[in-house]
Symmetry: C2
Subunit: 771 residues, 2 copies
Amino acid sequence: MHVKEIDAFWRAANYLSVGQIYLLDNPLLKEPLRPEHVKPRLLGHWGTTPGLNFCFAHLNRVIVERGQDMIYIAGPGHGGPAAVAHAWLEGTYSEIYPDVAMNAEGMRRLFRQFSFPGGIPSHVAPETPGSIHEGGELGYALAHAYGAAFDNPDLVVACVVGDGEAETGPLAASWHSNKFIDPRRDGIVLPILHLNGYKIAGPTVLARIPEVELIKLFEGYGYRPHIVSGDDPAVMHETMIRTLDLVFEQIAEIKSGLAGARPPMIVLRTPKGWTGPREVDGKPVEGTWRSHQVPLSQVRDDAVHLAMLEDWMRSYRPDELFDAEGRPTVTVTEAAPRGTRRMSANPHANGGELLRPLTLPDFRAYAVQVKSPATESSEPTRVLGGFLRDVIAANPENFRLMGPDETASNRLSAVFEVTDRAWDAEILKTDEHLAPDGRVMEVLSEHLCQGWLEGYLLTGRHGLFNCYEAFIHIVDAMFNQHAKWLESAKNIPWRRPIASLNYLLSSHVWRQDHNGFSHQDPGFLDVVMNKKSSIVRVYLPPDANTLLSTADHCLRSRDYVNVVVAGKQPVLDLFSMREAIAHCARGAGILTWASTDGGEDPDVVLACAGDVPTLETLAAAAILREHLPDLRVRVVNVVDLMRLQPASEHPHGMSDAEFDTLFTSDKPIIFNFHGYPWLIHRLTYRRNGHGNIHVRGYKEEGTTTTPFDMAMLNDIDRFHLVMDVIDRVPHLMSRAAHLRQEMADERLRARIYTREHGDDPAFIRDWVWPY
Amino acid sequence: MHVKEIDAFWRAANYLSVGQIYLLDNPLLKEPLRPEHVKPRLLGHWGTTPGLNFCFAHLNRVIVERGQDMIYIAGPGHGGPAAVAHAWLEGTYSEIYPDVAMNAEGMRRLFRQFSFPGGIPSHVAPETPGSIHEGGELGYALAHAYGAAFDNPDLVVACVVGDGEAETGPLAASWHSNKFIDPRRDGIVLPILHLNGYKIAGPTVLARIPEVELIKLFEGYGYRPHIVSGDDPAVMHETMIRTLDLVFEQIAEIKSGLAGARPPMIVLRTPKGWTGPREVDGKPVEGTWRSHQVPLSQVRDDAVHLAMLEDWMRSYRPDELFDAEGRPTVTVTEAAPRGTRRMSANPHANGGELLRPLTLPDFRAYAVQVKSPATESSEPTRVLGGFLRDVIAANPENFRLMGPDETASNRLSAVFEVTDRAWDAEILKTDEHLAPDGRVMEVLSEHLCQGWLEGYLLTGRHGLFNCYEAFIHIVDAMFNQHAKWLESAKNIPWRRPIASLNYLLSSHVWRQDHNGFSHQDPGFLDVVMNKKSSIVRVYLPPDANTLLSTADHCLRSRDYVNVVVAGKQPVLDLFSMREAIAHCARGAGILTWASTDGGEDPDVVLACAGDVPTLETLAAAAILREHLPDLRVRVVNVVDLMRLQPASEHPHGMSDAEFDTLFTSDKPIIFNFHGYPWLIHRLTYRRNGHGNIHVRGYKEEGTTTTPFDMAMLNDIDRFHLVMDVIDRVPHLMSRAAHLRQEMADERLRARIYTREHGDDPAFIRDWVWPY
C-alpha cells in the first residue's frame, strides 16, 4: 500500500463524509447537484473529519505491512462521518447492516441515515462498527485506549486526541497512564494528538504554544513526540509514512524489552476542515473554527453554496474512487486490511465477542460464621478482600481492580497477598507491592480509574472500581456516558454483552471519621437511578456475608452498572451465608429475629437499607422490645434498592401485593436509609402505603466527629427512631410519653458525652453492641 | 527575618500541628506526657503538614521584606493542622475565636478542638482563617488560585499542590491556566509542587519520574521550574530563601512587562512526614506513606509510642518557641507579617469583605416586546446576551463570564461587542475576539471554568458559568464541594456573604440537534437538590423576558448556587416584561390566556416547567380548547422549581393552601417537566394532590433527530398530553375517544413524516406555532 492507495482511501473517506453531512440523494453525483438532493437541515461536524480519515488510511498501511493487530479510538468522536465512512469502505458496515450495501443505493442510504430522524447518531456511537468510544463528552479517549491495551500484549491502540479534548482535565491526566502499563504484558497505546487548531469557536491551547514547549511537554509526560505538520497532501502522506515507520520501529523496540524506552506519540498538525472550502462568503473557513460543523450552511437556498458543495465533493475525484455501481474501486480497497484486521471489524472493539467468563471461587468459602445474628462483627470489605484476592489469582489476564489509592484504605488489602499495584516508574527499596504487572490499578484520579476500566470492559474483560463514596461523583458524567453506551448497545444485535461496570463504594458517608463534611455525599445513587432501569442496579448489603453474595452476583452479570455500597468498619454479622444468599435473592426481607410481630400484622415497620442505618434500626428495635414488649414491630432490611420500585418501572421491582405484604399498606413505616432520604420517596411514591412512609437519611449535616454523633446529627440514630415510632403509631404516645422523653434525654446525654470524651472506645463499644 | 526566625516559626507550627493531632491536655509539655493527655481516637493527617508549614514560614519572609500582598492555598488541605497553626501563631485565630486565646489554655483548646466532636474539621475548611479552599476533594487548588489572581494585579497567590493531587485530571489541566492570565491586569500564581513522594498508600507519579522529565513537563506547561530538594532543615532553609528571592525577582520582571517571560514555579521535594518519627515498630515512617495520617498510633496504650510522641514534640524545642504562659516567643512572631499582610488575615481570603455589588443595567431595557402572548418568538439566551454585554461593560474588574468554548454556541455572542476571550498565547490574524484582558474565559474544561469561577467568587467578585446542560455533570463533585463550603460558611459569622455561583445551562436536553443522545442529560438538577435548601435555587424561565428577570435576580443574590436552565433556540414570547417580573416573583402561576377554567375550578391542570415542555403544554391546551371547548383547563407554569416544595423544606416553598389553590387538591395534574420526571414527585410527594400528579419528562430516550421527534420519543409532546388528559379526567373518555384516537394518529403521522422528510423547515414551523 503506497501513497496512491492511501490517498485514494483518504479521498474516498472524505467524499463519503461530506456526502453523509449533506446529501439525501444523487450520492455519486451522476447528475448535477440540485437543492432537493441536499438535506433540509445540516447537522454534523466536518472540521475534525479529514484528519480522522487521514490517520485511519495511514494506519491501514501499517496493519497490512506488519500484520499488526490494531484498533482505532477517535477522540474527536463528533467526527462520526469518518468512522462510518471507514466501516463502509472496509465492507464491515454492509456486513452488519445489509440494507446499506456497497453500491449506489447503499451509499444513498448511508448518506441519508446520517444525523437524520430514524437514522444514526452524528457521533461515533455504539452503532458504529469498530468503536469502543462514544464521541459525545470529551476527555476520555486516551484513558479508554489504555484500558483497551491492558492485558492485550499484541494490540496497538491508536488513539486520536483532539486539541480541544486535550484541554480537559481527564485527558491531561491520561498522558501519565504510561506509568501504569507493562510493555511485556500489555499492548501499546499510540496517541496521535491532532492539532487542527480550533475548538467550536476559538483556538486551542496546545496549538498556540511554541513548538519547543509542546515537545518538552510530551517528553515530560514520558513520550517520544514526532511532529507531522503541513497542509499539502502529497508532502503530508510522505511525512506520515516515514513517521509511522519510525514509530512502529520504536514500538518494536519497546516490545522487545529495551529498558527505559519511552513510547512514541505523534503530533499531527493540519488545517481544521482540511480539503474543505477555503473561503465562504468572503471569510476564511478551512484552517479556522468556521469549519467545525458545516462549512457551507445555506446550500438548499444559495446557488453559490450549492455549487461550492458540488465542486468540493468532485475535488475528491469520485470517478476514480467508486465504480459505476457505487462500489469502491480496487485502488481504494485492494491494499486495505482484510477480515478481523480491519479496524472496523476488530473483535477488540466489540469486546463481548472476546468475553471469557470469570473463573470465580465459591464465595461461600469466605463466609464469616454466624451462629446467631448480631452477636459478632466483621469488616465487610475486609472479608470481601479475601474473595477478590482469589478472583485475581484465578483470572490473571481477565480482571483488574481499580481505585484511587484507596484499596488499602477500603480494607481490600488481602489482594496484595497475590498481586501488586501496577507501576512502571521508579521503585524504591522501601516500597511495597509495586510491580509492572500488578493487577491493582491505583492512581489518584477517579477519572483514570473509570476510563481505564471502561476501556478494559469494552474490550471484553472484567473489573471492579473501589472508591470513596463521596468522590465517585467525580465520575458522574463518565458514568452517564457509559450508561448511555450500554442503553444503546442493548438494542444493537451485533454488539455482544460485556461484563458489568461494578462499583464498590466504601468509606461511606456515615464513617468519614478522618475527613468529615467534605467527604460526605451519598448522592451518586440519585445520579445512577436516572438511567434506564434495564441497566442500573444498586445494592446495600448490610453485613459481610450479604456483601459476598452481592459481589459474586455482580461479577457474573453482563451489561449492567452495579453499584454496591458497603462499609469498611466493623458491623454486626446478621446473616449466615445461607441466609445471606436467600436474603440477597429476595432483595428485601423481614429480620424475624429482630421483629416482634410474630409474623402477623405489625403495629409499625422499621425498614432499613445500608449498614449503619441497619445497625441503628436494630438497636431501636431492641429498645422497643425492652420497653414496649407488646408493640408488634417488624424489621425489614432492603439489600436491592430496585426492589422498592413498581414492577412496571424496574425488572427487580416488587408487585404491589408483595410490597404490601412486606411493608403493609396501612401501618407506619419508619425507613432508615443510607443516602438522601427523598430517594426512597422517589422509588415508592406509587405504593399504597406511601403516605405512611417516613424516611430518615443523610440530610447534609456533618463534620469530623464520632460515628454516633453523625447518626444523631442526621436523626438516623436509635433514639430518634424510637421517638419516631412513638410519634407515629396511633395511641402509642399516651403510654410511651415517658420512653419518648427518655430517648430525648439519651440523645442529649450522648451528645454531651461525645463532646466531653471524644470517642472513648468504651462508649463506641457501648453503642455498637445493642444485643 | 532570617533563618533563625523562619526555623522558629516552622518548628512552632510543627509543634502545634502535632499537638492538634494528639493532645487533649498538657499542651506545653510542662509535665511528662501521660496517656490521659492523649486523645482516645487519633484523627488527622501529619504527612503533608510539615511541608505546608515550611512553605508558609518562608513565604512570610517574602511578604515582610517585599511588602507583598499574598494569600496561601493549601492544596493538600487535609493538612488542616498546618493552617490552623499558622492562624494561631499570627494571632488571627484568637482574634476571631477569642476562646482560643494565645496562651496555654488557648493552646489546650486549640489542640482539643481539632478533629474532635463539637470542635473543628480535620481539613482546611471554611472555619479556617486565611483559606478559600476546602481541602476535601483533591484537584482544584490551582484553578482556585488562578481564579483568585484574576483582576487582582498586586496579589500573589501561593498555591501548594500535593503530588497526590497532581495526578488528578482537573489539576493536570490547571497548569495551562497561565495561558489565560494577563500579567498586567491580573495577579501572579506561584505554584509550589510539593513532592513528598506518596499518596495514602503508594508512591506518586511525579515523584518517580526522572528529574529531567519533571523539568521538561513544567517547561512544557509554560513555567520556569525551580527545584528545592532535601531533608536537612538548615540546608533546606538556605535553598528555599535563595529560590524564593530568585522567584520573586522573576515575578517582578513579569509584572514590569517583560515580554514572553514565563512564570516561575517551585518543586519542593521533602520527606513525607518530615521531622516526624523516622521509624516505628521497626518500619520506616518518615519519608514513606506510613506517615500519611498518624505516624504513631497506639499512643494511649503503648508506652513506647507515648515516649516517642513526647520526644518528637520536644524535638521542636517548645521552650524556645513559647513562653511560660504559652504565648509564642518574640523569635517566632517578631518578624512575621502584621495586620492584613498576615496570610491568615488577608481579606482576599474572606472575599465577602471585599465584595462590591455589581453595577447592573436595568434588565427591563432588554425586554422583547410582547403585544399578545405566544405570537412572536425569541431566542432567550441571545436576548440575555445583550444584558450580559452591558453587565460586563459596567463592571470591568468585577465580573467574568466562564464557559467551555460555548459562549457563541449558547448565543451569548453580544458580549463580544464589548470584550474578548481571555487569551495570553499566540494570536493569528484570522482570530477574532482574543485578548489578554478579555472578560470571557473559554477553555474546553468544565473543571477549569468552575474552579476559576469559584476562586473568583471566593475572593469577592462576581460571575456566571454558561455550559451545555448535559456536561455540567462533569463538575457535579465540584458543585458539591462548593455547596458544602457555602453551607458551612453560612454558620460562620466572620465569613462575609459572597456572590452566588450562577449557572446558565443551555443547549439543553430537548434541543441537542447536532449531537444527540450523549448530550442529553437534565440530571444536574437532581444533584443540586440534594444540597441544603438554604443555598440552592433552580429556575426554568420559559421565555426571554422571564430569563432576563431571573438573571437579574441571580446576579444580585449572595451565598447561593443559582441554576438557570434556558434554551437558545427560538421559543414563543409568553410574558411582557411586566408580566415576566410578576411571574418570576410568584415563581409559579396560571397562564390565564391559555386556560379555559375561567378562574374557577378546572377539570384538569396542565402544569409545565421549562421552555420546550411549556410550548408543548400550550399546544395541548390549544388542541383541547378547539376540540373540547367546554373542558375547563388550567395551565400553570413553574419558573422557580423550589416553589413546589413544602414551605417547611425550602424558604421558597408554597404553603399547602397556596399549592392547592394553584394546582387543586383533587383534579388531575399533568405536569410536563424539563428534566427527569421523578424530580417533580420528589418535590411534591407531601402535597394533598400528589396522588393526582402525572409527570412527563425526559426518560432517557433520544438520538440525533428533530426537536419534535425528541418530544414524542419521551411522550412530552402535545398529542400525548391531550391523550393523558383524556385518560385522566373522569368520564372524558366516553365523549373524547375519537379525539384520543386522532391524537394517536397524529403522533404516528408525525413520526412517519419526520422519518421521511427529516426536519423540513415548514414542518418545524407548523409544530412550533400552535397559536
